[in-house]
């Protein structure tokens, strides 16, 4: 009964017609035979299709589905990697920053050989200065001395700010997300720098300098455990005095949506220019012994008490080193 429009009801006998005109209500045409099984029906359908296709023109292939060879991508036009870091930009920054590193801060390292020349490691340091001066010094120092890139994890606040966020990203910074750290450390074997104090460290007033804040919630230890890499603590002296905060304006900071808004000694000394000029404090950096955790990597969870203990241990390692370095320091400016 071809063309017999009837609402379809049962399943066994429906759908023998392989094609229907477009824009037609859901009608079914049935074959007169009732006893056909689905398999024989299908055989008939296929035979019908084959015999018809001999005379019918088929649609041109929209997509060649059998071709699954990868298509050669075009050459890259830039060198920005998946993290947003550009070696070219890094090179320019190194050239510009090198005089600052050498002649302004006169950075001096101790125990640089404790940083491995290959494989992942999580560098953990104390954090200071209104605009942190420690991150560029550490990153520049390791890149020039060891010839290894360092990726710096930072508060995502950076990414909000036009230009600054993009520059930060091109120079090797990325938002401190555990997934980012894991990938860099575990899969790519890179050096990753993190400041567990976060903005609590950089917003300290001048009177609180060299007193470490809480080390977050120990997330950095958990990431290092999961990635199976050591934590390498670094104690930095000098950053605190490069841009000390004398007062904070929390109400204005809240209203404009920044983590803290400082009045720095630099502003008092140099006026508005001081917002961007560091004091030439002498930088001393001490790399402490790497901490290995001896736990299997890639676990779903790690003992929270173990994580907190390790976090506290690393914090006190850095704190003790800071006290020791400040004790030996004769002058803020000359070391």
């Amino acid at each position: 009964m071809p063309g017999d429009a009837r609402p379809a009801r049962s399943s066994k006998r429906s759908g023998t017609r392989p094609a229907a005109t477009a824009a037609r209500p859901p009608t079914k045409t049935r074959t007169p035979t009732k006893t056909r099984t689905r398999a024989t029906q299908r055989a008939v359908v296929e035979a019908e299709q084959r015999s018809r296709s001999a005379e019918l023109v088929h649609l041109p292939n929209a997509i060649d589905l059998d071709d699954d060879r990868p298509v050669e991508p075009p050459p890259r036009r830039g060198d920005v990697d998946e993290w947003g870091r550009s070696e070219h930009m890094r090179e320019i920054a190194r050239r510009v920053y090198d005089p600052v590193y050498r002649h302004w801060f006169r950075a001096e390292w101790e125990g640089l050989d404790k940083i491995p020349s290959e494989g992942g490691a999580l560098l953990v340091s104390n954090h200071a200065a209104a605009i942190p001066s420690d991150a560029p010094v550490i990153m520049h120092g390791i890149e020039t001395e060891l010839n290894r890139p360092v990726y710096g994890l930072a508060d995502y606040f950076f990414r909000h700010v036009p230009v600054v966020g993009t520059m930060w990203s091109r120079l090797g910074g990325l938002p401190a997300h555990p997934d980012n750290a894991y990938r860099l450390l575990r899969e790519q074997g890179q050096l990753v720098l993190v400041f567990p104090e976060g903005t609590k460290g950089t917003s300290k007033l001048v009177g609180e300098r060299y007193q470490l804040r809480r080390f977050g919630r120990g997330g950095f230890v958990e990431i290092a455990m999961r990635a199976g890499v050591p934590v390498i603590p670094i104690a930095v002296v000098g950053a605190e005095e490069s841009m000390p905060i004398v007062a904070r304006l929390p109400t204005i900071a809240r209203s404009i949506g920044v983590p803290y808004l400082p009045i720095t000694a630099n502003m008092l000394a140099f006026g508005p220019l001081g917002a961007g000029i560091y004091f030439p404090a002498k930088f001393k950096l001490r790399v402490l012994d790497p901490v290995h955790f001896e736990v299997p990597a890639d676990q779903e969870r790690y003992s929270k008490s173990r994580v907190m203990d390790e976090s506290e241990r690393i914090r006190s390692m850095i704190q003790d080193a800071l006290f020791d370095m400040v004790r030996r320091r004769r002058s803020v400016w000359f070391g």
Binding site: T21, A22, R42, S51, A62, D68, V71, P73, R76, N180
Partner: protein, 351 residues
């Protein structure tokens, strides 16, 4: 032959770009015996043996169709991910209510449905400065989703999850597609890239990920053929800064002010020059990357990387610019072919 070898497929959104493409591809598969396509409008692509059923946007009569056609596979492509296509309310009807009805029909007690593929988008991850560089399928959004598209897709996905949980005998796969680009598709991003200068947000140069339209169709078919269940990101390898995307297109970027961007764009939107909704302005600030390794380790091979997909778009644009909207050498005369196929006047069995 196991019932999985021969399929009766229901495709939603037959009139949409994806529904039509998927149906075309399924038509070439001899193991697919029936293809039923639903939509509110007629398909735009030529189809040989797909049956088209006109339905209302939220598929209220779907249960009847599913029961009548005894489909065993549903390919749900009718999800709106481009907010410029329709109003927020219409999008809600299509995405959320449509999916709800679809799954209600598919989970009826006598339902024959055994495979469901849903085409979602990576917009469900949101786009914020806190985001990781790569989202895996398990990474939750960094902040509660705000934009209508993101929220409606999120609701859709929650229906998918509920359905998968309630019907463990059904193989449910959810594919999340990144920004699609290619030779044919038109999205807010391709429109932006076809402007004389490419809009960007001043001070931002986010990394973008793309997937080629062919890889979208291929991945849907791959998932169907290999009975994969679960959530998969579908996106090309590699991330490209927006400026580099513009360079590949041979264009310069035109920076828009970072504050009041959408207000400034409003007159241009009215004039029909550029329409970048809030989701896309966010992308132009922070970008988004998704990890495609889960689908790759399930055996799928992408033909195009992000850069390769952009290159394909650029080449197609060049061709269009030279030839106009080129037509294929052969024109399929639908009415004549349909006549050959279905008219009782045609003598079919000469033997």
């Amino acid at each position: 032959m196991s019932p999985h070898n021969v399929r009766r497929v229901l495709v939603t959104g037959l009139g949409s770009f994806w529904g039509g493409r998927v149906a075309q591809a399924l038509e070439r598969d001899p193991n697919v015996e029936v293809i039923v396509g639903l939509d509110t409008e007629e398909p735009h692509v030529e189809l040989e043996r797909t049956e088209y059923v006109r339905v209302d946007a939220n598929y209220s009569i779907l249960a009847k169709i599913v029961r009548a056609t005894r489909v065993d596979t549903i390919v749900h492509t009718f999800l709106i991910v481009d907010p410029t296509q329709m109003s927020q309310r219409a999008m809600h009807e299509t995405n959320v209510i449509g999916t709800m009805n679809l799954f209600a029909a598919a989970s009826a007690p006598d339902s024959t449905v055994r495979n469901v593929v849903v085409k979602s988008a990576t917009a469900v991850y949101g786009c914020t400065p806190e985001d990781p560089t790569w989202f895996t399928e398990d990474t939750p959004p960094s902040r509660p989703l705000r934009r209508p598209v993101e929220r409606s897709l999120d609701q859709v996905e929650s229906y998918v999850r509920d359905f998968a949980e309630d019907n463990p005998h059904v193989v449910v796969s959810l594919l999340r597609f990144s920004n699609v680009i290619g030779t044919e598709i038109i999205t807010p991003l391709t429109r932006a890239l076809e402007l004389p200068v490419v809009p960007s947000v001043w001070g931002f140069d986010p990394r973008f990920q793309f997937v080629h339209e062919d890889d979208v169709v291929r991945s849907i078919l791959y998932v169907l053929r290999s009975n994969l269940s679960g959530v998969y990101n579908v996106a090309g390898d590699g991330l490209l800064p927006w400026t580099e995307v513009a360079t590949l297109c041979g264009k310069l970027t035109f920076p828009l002010p970072p504050l009041g961007t959408s207000e400034l764009l409003w007159p241009f939107k009215r004039a029909g020059v550029v329409d970048l909704p809030e989701e896309y302005l966010n992308l132009l600030r922070f970008g988004r990357g998704v990890d495609n390794r889960k689908l790759k380790s399930a055996g799928f091979g992408f033909r195009y990387t992000s850069a390769g997909a952009v290159q394909a778009f650029v080449e197609a644009t060049r061709l269009r610019r030279t030839l106009g909207d080129h037509e294929p050498a052969y024109r399929y005369e639908r009415d004549v072919e349909q006549f050959f196929r279905h008219s009782p006047a045609v003598v079919r069995d000469p033997g």
